[in-house]
Structure formats: C-alpha cells, structure tokens
C-alpha cells in the first residue's frame, strides 16, 4: 500500500505558523510519513520533521525550545500531525 504523503497545503500552513512565531528564522520542513507507513496509530496522519534556526532559542534549554515549537503548532498536533521531529537551533549552533 502506498504511504500517504502530507499535502502541500498542510506543509504551507505549518510553514506560515512557524514563520509568524519565529520571524526571520531559517527552516526546513520535511515529510517523513513514508518511513512510518503501517504504524497503527499513525493511520491517516503525518510524520513531519522540522529543523528551525531562530534567535528566539538563544539562552533556552532544549525542553523550552521544543515547547515553543509545540505551542506554535498546537492545532496541527491535535489533528493531522501524528509525529513531529524537532531540531531547534540558536544562531551559532550546529548539529
């Protein structure tokens, strides 16, 4: 069975939310749903990866950074997003 893919409208909505919460950040949003096909709880929902570089993360620990991202995407997390991988970097950091 072909894995479902997140539609472009969802990805653009997430991008718009993140851009408004994290202005002038750099971000990459990837659809990783295909790797998680067949996962019972994930049926019909999507797995996304977000990599975000923002000055809002400066001085915050990892938990606080992830909470900011979760807060920005609360509605989508309660709906079409099953799982969200987050990499949250402040300027000058790398992984």
């Amino acid at each position: 069975m072909a894995a479902p893919q997140a539609d472009i409208a969802l990805i653009e909505r997430i991008r718009a939310r993140l851009e408004s919460e994290f202005p002038s950040s750099e971000m990459i949003i990837e659809d990783d749903s295909a790797r998680h096909a067949g996962h019972r709880e994930a049926a019909g929902r999507f797995h996304l990866k977000v990599r975000l570089l923002s000055s809002r993360f400066t001085g915050l620990d990892r938990v606080a950074r992830h909470r900011l991202v979760y807060a920005a995407l609360g509605e989508e997390l309660a709906g079409p997003i099953h799982a969200l991988n987050i990499t949250a970097l402040a300027p000058g950091e790398s992984t």
Partner: protein, 103 residues
C-alpha cells in the same frame, strides 16, 4: 489512586520513561529509540506504558506541557522527548547524566 497521585509516584523515581509499550515490546519507533539510547549508556530506568492508561496519557500531556510521548523524567524534571534524548546521546550528555558511571 487518582491520576495525579499516580503521576507524582511515577515522576518521583530517579529516572522514569513514559512510553508507548514496554522497553522489551515498544509500540512506537520513538519509544523504541529512547529505550535504545538509555540502554546504550547503561541507564537504569522505570517505565510507564501510557497505552495501558488513557487517563495517565492525557494527564501527562498537561502535567508536562508536552504533547507527545515518550517523555523522560529525571528526578521529577522533564528531560525531554525522543529528539532530545537522541541529541543528548550523540553529544555524550546522556551518558554523562544517566550513564552507568554517572554519579
């Protein structure tokens, strides 16, 4: 015991993983990965299978202000979810904090 009391009891343990499934039979790739990195550093941890306890599952999202599982608690503090544990494993911080040789 109320769900609040169950949470207090669980997070009072030195290291507690709130996960989907059990360490030997994880029901989600992220929970499985978190068990793997904890075992890789030789950490001892208790676990709570939130799939068996829907009330706890919902209450932990609110208690932690964190919408997803797994969640790792260390001495009552949320250390993070699977992305954070993997980052800390790769950087060596997890071994430093929770490894078999950690204080």
């Amino acid at each position: 015991m109320s769900v609040e009391e169950r949470i207090q009891e669980a997070v009072a343990q030195p290291v507690a993983l709130f996960m989907k499934g059990t360490p030997d039979f994880p029901q989600c790739g992220f929970s499985a990965q978190s068990v793997q990195v904890l075992r890789a550093v030789g950490a001892e941890f208790a676990h709570v299978n939130i799939l068996e306890d829907p009330e706890m599952r919902q209450a932990m999202k609110e208690y932690s202000n964190w919408p997803t599982f797994p969640q790792l608690y260390v001495h009552g503090e949320l250390l993070g979810g699977s992305d954070i544990l993997l980052e800390m494993y790769r950087s060596g911080e997890l071994a430093e904090k929770l490894g078999a040789t950690a204080e």
